[in-house]
């Protein structure tokens, strides 16, 4: 333990996520499922994104991934549109952070007490970016399971 004023630091494992610029991803924090579904549907219809999947990351926190592949320029446009229209401050922060990084990221592994995000709702087509996202997520889960079991691949 290392003290830092009134803060306490402890060793921890890093978080694993999926990062890319071609899939539109949104992180809704502190909102109801109904609100998330409304904005996901509205965004999908307005930008013709084909379909979406909603993942529950923890109580009141949701992730949304859309199906259509887009350029990073269009991705930023869509994320910013939702953040401005919905007037959700945490979503605005999320979009700004993704703009700084140059790609958008969503968590896959556990984070402290929060479990891995799980799918709670699907709508429309699922054969594009959603399929790629879920495949990569499964790959990360396999890696985490092997690490927990202490398996050696060599």
């Amino acid at each position: 333990m290392t003290g830092l004023g009134n803060q306490r630091l402890s060793r921890s494992k890093p978080v694993l996520g999926i990062s890319c610029s071609t899939a539109v991803k949104l992180d809704f924090d502190g909102v109801s499922f109904k609100t998330v579904k409304y904005w996901a549907l509205r965004t999908m219809r307005w930008f013709r994104l084909g379909g979406f999947v909603i993942l529950k990351s923890s109580e009141g926190n949701y992730h949304v991934v859309f199906n259509r592949r887009v350029t990073w320029k269009r991705n930023v446009k869509i994320m910013s549109w939702v953040a401005i229209e919905s007037q959700l401050p945490k979503l605005k922060d999320y979009v700004l952070m993704q703009c700084i990084k140059g790609c958008s990221t969503l968590r896959v592994s556990r984070k402290g007490d929060k479990p891995s995000p799980r799918i709670v709702y699907r709508y429309g087509k699922q054969d594009g970016e959603i399929r790629n996202f879920l495949l990569k997520r499964r790959q990360i889960w396999r890696i985490l399971r092997r690490m927990e079991n202490g398996e050696d691949l060599s």
């Binding site: 290392t2 921890s12 990569k136 890696i143």
Partner: protein, 116 residues
Amino acid sequence: MGKVRTEIWKNVGIVRVERDERGKFIRWWKVTGRESSGKMVAVYGYVWEDGRIVSKRYEFTGSGRDLYWAVMLAHEMPPKGRFVTVSAREFVRHPWEYARLGGFSHDWIGKPEVES
């Protein structure tokens, strides 16, 4: 644009062939590699550095065994820079070029909690 399908040609290998609705040949091109989905695996967290807490992240491209070993190494060693984007294979071969080794000050730390 007509219909495109993958075929295996003798002496050429895997090719993509485009034909019109009546099946008439239009063009072909060789498939040089598997198309990537462009998804990267992000490993991110906080590090205690120069008297303050800094967030750092790796972004790995690649798959399979290289990705497994890259994530294994990344779990133990935070990166030197704040944002490191590297192929998993390259990271596994030369981890010391991208990661910091040894000591508590070179470990991942949990999100700081404020004691009340």
